[in-house]
Symmetry: C2
Subunit: 431 residues, 2 copies
Amino acid sequence: MSDTLRIGVAGLGTVGTGTLELLNKHYEMIAHRCGRPVLVTAVSARDRRKERGLELSGVRWFEDATAMAADPEIDVLIELIGGSDGIAKATVETALEHGKHVITANKALIAHHGNELALKAEKAGVVLACEAAVCGGIPVIKTIREGLAANAIQSIYGILNGTSNFILSTMRESGREFGEVLLEAQKLGYAEADPSFDVDGVDAAHKLAILTALAYNCEIDFESVHVEGIREISTIDVNFAEELGYRIKLLGIARLSDGGVEQRVHPCMVRKNKPIANVEGVYNAVVAEGDFVGDILCEGQGAGAGPTASSVVGDLIDIARGIRMPTFSVPASALERRPTRPMSENYGGYYLRLMALDRPGVIADITAALRDDGISVESMVQRGRGPGGEAVPVVLTTHETHEANMMRALERLSALDSVLEPPRLIRIETL
Amino acid sequence: MSDTLRIGVAGLGTVGTGTLELLNKHYEMIAHRCGRPVLVTAVSARDRRKERGLELSGVRWFEDATAMAADPEIDVLIELIGGSDGIAKATVETALEHGKHVITANKALIAHHGNELALKAEKAGVVLACEAAVCGGIPVIKTIREGLAANAIQSIYGILNGTSNFILSTMRESGREFGEVLLEAQKLGYAEADPSFDVDGVDAAHKLAILTALAYNCEIDFESVHVEGIREISTIDVNFAEELGYRIKLLGIARLSDGGVEQRVHPCMVRKNKPIANVEGVYNAVVAEGDFVGDILCEGQGAGAGPTASSVVGDLIDIARGIRMPTFSVPASALERRPTRPMSENYGGYYLRLMALDRPGVIADITAALRDDGISVESMVQRGRGPGGEAVPVVLTTHETHEANMMRALERLSALDSVLEPPRLIRIETL
């Protein structure tokens, strides 16, 4: 390796372009901070003729990203292609096999193949870094892996998807329903044409799986994440939440307890006065609870060209400075395989909304269904009247109980003649 | 150096005891995360007989911390004695001169002597680390030095002193005056018997000077920090702030602009809906604004045995893992000396409270005094009546102006016969 660190960038979309702009604008500053020049010497993208506003003279162009990844004149490969398999995976694997450090912003790739890729990096004696894959510009991986490394992490949770948070914030502020706000998010460029990765919780689950591996020094286990999205959230629930002193947030939560590792992504009711409840719009935030440090909250922009480029180049500066950290805090070969704590063992309070007929005996039936599984009602609101036989919302919050009990009770509630729609359930998180 | 990293801890007060507890409790976890054991082999404190609840068998005891710092069987010296000079400084210097890495939580020492100590460390080829010196458990030094290293930092600001923040929060919540709340803070152990370092802004200024050096890769210049504390804040101002949509916070603010580096610690009016306005009690928070990443906020406990030990041992884990970072992000010999932007050039809005006689012409005199320096009034409130000649509060907020103009206007206002007490001024920060 020459004194100059030579970079190949695969993928010139929004983040790739932003990364090149950053490296160009701050060339002198980065050289000063690293004690050596960091130079993009090669790029690869599908369409060479596309106008990107980049000055690329002197930079070698590869049609084939894997050929660039194998090129002997590249020291670090930055993968910004995206997707859990295909060309992104092939490019990363090729780079690692050829002894190049790899930086990626690709959460799907790491969530699905992080263990094997980290092992490959380790065998080759190179770094596989992915700060940009979790919460864009927030240096949360570094914070957990290094800043809080003296702590046993008791829990880690956060708003890991800006699109969903924007939709929930806007639903609350504007009183509009999910579908309408999603359209607005798409117009603003906050949501993709196919929004399912964001609004169904998959993107947040990718990030949570990575955070869990870091916090608990265990293998990535994306398949075990319990995932629910926000499509079913209605403004009725948003308003009831407000009335009860809560905000609805899509959280990713990981915790280590006797039964193993718990990893879940789903809408939560969070007390309005909690810092995490006040993270609004496209912002992301992560709270890590350590046994010595207490709660540390980090908040910032979780997506976009600038913030993501900041994290990509942050990893690059680490490499240029000679910092060599394993992907998941300890060597990949030393990562433990931890059992998953099943969702049925989840213990907490619940918000339930039933659309029920307004007739005598309905409340008695509902409360009996809960009582039969030992679930204790904390509060109940019935709003509006339905003398013509239309359904009215009946909202209950429960004291803490096991999810298994609640699921049995839900089945009984669904089966009641007087309950007309599938019951809506949102977990209450005390955090 | 043996494979085991051998630690000497100087100072066994609250933080020293917490650090030993952490290293003892997490011995296995830390060895796993570092790939090598980290062992306390020596300690030094004034009184050997004091009961600290620590198991110290097998640990060598030094009466003299500098002797421990020179001991050939120590690899890392942790300085937790405190004070900007005297034994703390001598111990750190001795350790550096003997080629040992040094970790300190001593913000006064670094603020006053950071440049020379960082140079000494560099000459010896060792690390001088001080994460615990700024905001206790929040890994803010690592965040700026590494996580956000790809950014030009446009500004950095925060609540850097938990004691002052507790007092301001409690004044607002309880309606009690500064003196009374200070007594409560002392009873709760949040304030020292001599509270001046905390409430006069000195502690926050120490931390700000360190953050400035990191963010702008310049020499520490503590003497240039403009410092004002919170002793003069009255509940009258706290209540007017609330009414005007602000919270009063003691902030440390650093910014780089054409005129040089601006470093200031003083009470600020901050819009209630800003995240920093909602950081309450003994919590600390720092916001770094980078040109690519945007705003990143980190919040957590800024003091106490557990959080401070978390940062001390975080630095230690970095060293054990082989990470070798210069104290202020770039080598000490490469730190720039930047001019100070004088406070008179500060440009912003101001909150002014005058205690004035309630008689004809007073408001005309006051507004004329402001007009004569080109200061434009944004809002004015006169509250209560004083027919018997007692003073009533007249509160004004101004549009943005230069501090030099405001200081001249203040002199004229103070000289008015109808103004009975020294005017109170609080800067409005838009942030």
